[in-house]
């Protein structure tokens, strides 16, 4: 076989094995290209993409938490109004209690964690369906949000540190490499690429030392080039407009932490085992109860973070903040490939799902499409994504 033919075979094999994983990326690219054409390039502009990613932030963090909730065969409907309510609590603490951001943020995150434990209690202890337990939370937090904003209506936040979370960008360095571009963002991009390449090579060398199977060299290089290009492109686009936003930094950190927990730790493995077969997990010494508490608590913390991002972005807490966030997060997770049957789904997929979801909104807004049609299109995309996921999974199993 010629080297060229071998390369094609390798590529086909690598793609074939991971069609579901790459499918999501491909879908996102296709959507972006379509919108770039229909909006004469406005969609792909640095400014628009930067905005788009900032808008995705508060849904993205919810989608990350929701992924784990769905993986362990539960659902949490309370997260939208919990985010709205905790956003209002943050606003009140800043405005009326005169607390600094550095105190308010951790306080609200802790409250979120406690709220998650509260939702988990009837689920874990009494086996109440999480749909019902969290629906109760949905009602309660909706009421609580109206209660705390009843006297004041919309609470304007004037703390600039807090508002920077949703609107600010990372500072730049004093010198410039490419004129008109955010230098620190470019440097961080280069740093990320270098770190990625080094860690991949080290992990591959370690595997080779153990004599484990690794990707063929050509595929490995292709993977490195492809992902490096992706990181570079993202950094380039962001650097073209104010640089990396704080929202993006937060989302990246959350994704990195959750990706690490789910793929590298005992806790992550236990979560997926509980989702895959709770009885087998229990008999293997894993406490299903404990995992339930942990996953709901993490969901609560991320709801609080979502509330902070949203309130900060609007520079205010409104009486309807958080409305339908939960359904957007659930849709993003399903588009990203989680399965209601449990044990399947990953954080990266859900983030891509959230990006697909927000891209649709943003792109259609730019095109001036009526909101009524937007809902219909989003619905169709959700169904198409899940159908694709289910059919490719079935094929994967047969093979």
């Amino acid at each position: 076989m010629t080297t060229q033919a071998a390369f094609v075979t390798n590529l086909q094999r690598a793609l074939g094995q991971n069609i579901r994983q790459y499918g999501m990326f491909i879908a996102l690219f296709v959507i972006m290209i379509i919108f770039s054409i229909t909006t004469n390039g406005i969609f792909i502009s640095s400014r628009n993409l930067s905005n788009l990613i900032n808008q995705t932030g508060y849904i993205a963090v919810l989608a990350v938490g929701m992924t784990l909730v769905i993986v362990i065969r539960h659902i949490d409907l309370s997260v939208g109004f919990l985010a709205g309510f905790l956003g209002a609590v943050a606003a009140i603490a800043l405005r009326f209690w005169d607390l600094p951001t550095i105190v308010v943020v951790p306080m609200v995150l802790v409250l979120g964690g406690l709220a998650g434990l509260l939702t988990a209690f009837p689920v874990a202890e009494l086996k109440i369906p999480s749909f019902v337990a969290s629906l109760a939370g949905w009602l309660i937090y909706r009421g609580a949000l109206q209660l705390v904003t009843a006297g004041t209506g919309t609470i304007i936040i004037d703390d600039e540190t807090f508002n920077a979370i949703g609107n600010g960008f990372i500072p730049d360095v004093a010198f410039s490499i490419v004129p008109g571009y955010h230098t620190l963002t470019l440097l961080l991009g280069v740093l990320a690429i270098v770190a990625f390449v080094i860690s991949e090579i080290r992990s591959r060398n370690k595997k080779l030392a153990y004599n484990f199977e690794v990707l063929p060299t050509d595929m490995f290089v292709l993977k490195l080039v492809f992902i490096s290009a992706l990181i570079g492109l993202l950094a380039w686009i962001m650097a073209g407009y104010n640089g990396l936003s704080w929202t993006m930094v937060i989302v990246l950190v959350v994704v990195a932490i959750y990706h690490f927990i789910t793929t590298q730790t005992v806790l992550g493995r236990h979560i997926y085992a509980v989702g895959g077969n709770p009885e087998a997990a229990e008999l293997s010494g894993i406490s299903v109860k404990r995992i339930t508490y942990i996953v709901f608590a993490s969901m609560g913390v991320l709801s609080a973070l979502s509330g902070i991002l949203f309130a900060s972005r609007l520079r205010s807490a409104t009486t309807t903040a958080g409305t339908l966030f939960e359904l957007d997060a659930i849709a993003a997770a399903y588009i990203g490939g989680v399965s209601a049957a449990g044990g399947v789904g990953n954080v990266i997929g859900s983030i891509i799902g959230a990006l697909v979801y927000v891209s649709l909104t943003s792109g259609m807004n730019l095109m001036g499409i009526d909101i009524a049609y937007q809902y219909i299109v989003r619905g169709l995309v959700l169904v198409a994504a899940v159908v694709f996921d289910v059919t490719t999974r079935r094929r994967g199993r047969a093979g």
């Binding site: 005992v266 493995r269 009885e279 406490s287």
Partner: protein
């Protein structure tokens, strides 16, 4: 001469790799109680599923004749139409519906789709009187005891004018009183012209009600005995039920059993508030270092409950008695504690309780002991791969890679993955619940060899098995469990299939 109400001729039914029924012939006379007996896995339930249409015409070979007429059943509805009613061990009632709704479920008395409730209740009352069950027809099923539920099932069958009533182990979950009532009712129904087929493990029951008994063994009809000619006796039944060839498939072993007691149960009693009865009573047993102890008995005797209760996986049970492990008394509230103390339990239902089917071989093998591979909660992936590869080789797990989802493996290889998982926790006492159920002969032999190797290395094994040859071939010592009690303890040298079966059917 009048043809028999039921004749099944040369019925053969195959599942992948197993011939469950092999040329079975079974004939039932009108108006008799015909008992069907045999060991677990002899083919009784399969035969009844063929008869009721659960396995449709075409999925087996052979003929079914009702009143001399050949029949082709493609589903349960077809067999019901000719008057066959079957009542399974797991009752098919809807707990949240009332007695009368359940009796007419699927055959509602209605006009133009609207149910006539008055007529329904009147007819239900009539049926309940027939089975002599004195309950309010408007009571919910879940508020009735198992015995009464059983009678509702029979009432349901009678409402469909059943001519041939099949009961699969109807008394397995009943207490003595309810059982006695049920048997009495069967005699009454027979006198009113309903023919009954009764599947039962309880030989006393069989002796008291049967007009005729057919014995199945390994998917074949062994004999049909007529009670009225004095052919039916306990000895005759046991002799025909067992007597399976013990072929030389059990590898010899060379091991030392020390005097050190590894595990001991004292007056172990388990009560289920949900079922309202004792699952186990006053169980005393000992397992020594390097010993294989067999727990023999029939399905439902309480052996799995014994394993789960001592493994800490019995939140719904009330347990009394003492569990001693390596000279220390323990109370386990969760399997995690039992594992930490040196126990491991390989479940009898590997798909539902043993494996995470959508995960791969590697993840399943390391699941119960991930801590051993982790530093600060982070798994060392390369060490994990080494462990999984190690078990793949040593247990000869046939899989293309350890990244293969276990759902794609054969039964025998899935079982090896389960074993690998539990060996990796390095237990002192390994409980194997039906370790070779549903796996092929080759894999069985490998598992037996593995068991030998483990006891030679000093592990202790408790083996729950319903296969008598396996119990006799692999155990050093045998406890026979029946009705939640230890009915006897036999050293393997003194045990025979007949002796075990005698104890196992003694309720």
């Amino acid at each position: 001469m009048e043809p028999p109400i039921l004749e099944m001729r040369q019925i053969t039914k195959e599942f992948p790799g197993v011939r469950a029924l092999d040329n079975v012939t079974f004939s039932v006379k009108r108006g008799e109680i015909h008992c069907l007996v045999g060991e677990n896995g002899a083919g009784k339930s399969t035969l009844m599923k063929v008869l009721s249409g659960v396995y449709p015409y075409g999925s087996y070979s052979g003929e079914i004749l009702i009143d001399g007429q050949p029949q082709r059943f493609f589903g349960i509805a077809d067999s019901e139409r000719v008057g066959i009613g079957i009542i399974y061990q797991e009752l098919a009632l809807v707990p949240e519906l009332t007695v009368y709704e359940n009796i007419f479920l699927g055959h509602e008395i209605s006009r133009n789709g609207v149910i006539d409730w008055n007529e329904t209740i009147r007819r239900a009352d009539e049926m309940l009187r027939k089975v002599r069950l004195n309950v309010n027809p408007a009571a919910k099923i879940r508020d009735l005891g198992v015995g009464k539920q059983q009678l509702v099932e029979i009432a349901k069958a009678l409402s469909r004018e059943v001519k041939l009533l099949i009961l699969d182990e109807p008394t397995a979950a009943l207490n003595e009183n309810d059982s006695e009532n049920l048997l009495h009712l069967l005699r009454e129904l027979r006198d009113h012209g309903v023919t009954c087929i009764l599947i039962s493990h309880k030989l006393k029951e069989v002796l008291s009600v049967a007009d005729t008994v057919t014995v199945l063994r390994d998917g074949k009809t062994v004999c049909t005995l007529d009670a009225h000619k004095g052919e039916v006796s306990e000895q005759a039944l046991i002799r025909n039920m067992v007597g399976r060839e013990i072929t030389n498939i059990y590898p010899p072993r060379n091991h030392q059993i020390s005097d050190e007691v590894m595990l001991e149960l004292r007056n172990w009693t388990v009560y289920s508030p949900e079922l309202g009865r004792y699952l186990l009573r006053d169980v005393n047993l000992q397992v020594r270092k390097g010993e294989i102890v067999g727990l023999a008995g029939l399905m439902g005797a309480g052996r799995t409950e014994l394993a789960l209760s001592l493994f800490g996986n019995a939140p719904a049970y009330r347990i009394s008695g003492e569990l001693w492990l390596k000279g220390r008394k323990h109370t386990f509230h969760h399997p995690r504690e039992a594992i930490a103390a040196g126990l491991a339990y390989v479940s009898e239902d590997r798909k539902a309780k043993g494996l995470v089917l959508i995960q791969d071989v590697r993840q399943n093998i390391t699941l119960a002991n991930l801590q051993a591979l982790a530093k600060n909660g982070v798994i060392d992936r390369n060490a994990e791969i080494q462990v999984a590869e190690g078990y793949r080789k040593s247990l000869n797990i046939k899989t293309p890679t350890i990244e293969q989802q276990v759902v794609n493996l054969s039964g025998g290889n899935q079982q090896k993955v389960c074993l690998g998982k539990w060996l990796f926790v390095r237990p002192d006492v390994l409980i194997l619940d039906e370790p070779t159920r549903g796996i092929d002969v080759g894999a069985k032999y490998e598992i037996y060899q593995l068991m030998n190797r483990l006891v030679e290395e000093g592990m202790s094994i408790i083996m729950i098995s319903s296969e008598l040859p396996e119990v006799l071939g692999m155990s050093d010592r045998i406890y026979v469990v029946s009705g939640g009690r230890i009915k006897g303890e036999l050293p393997v040298a003194a045990a025979t299939q007949e002796k075990i079966m005698e104890l196992a059917v003694d309720y």
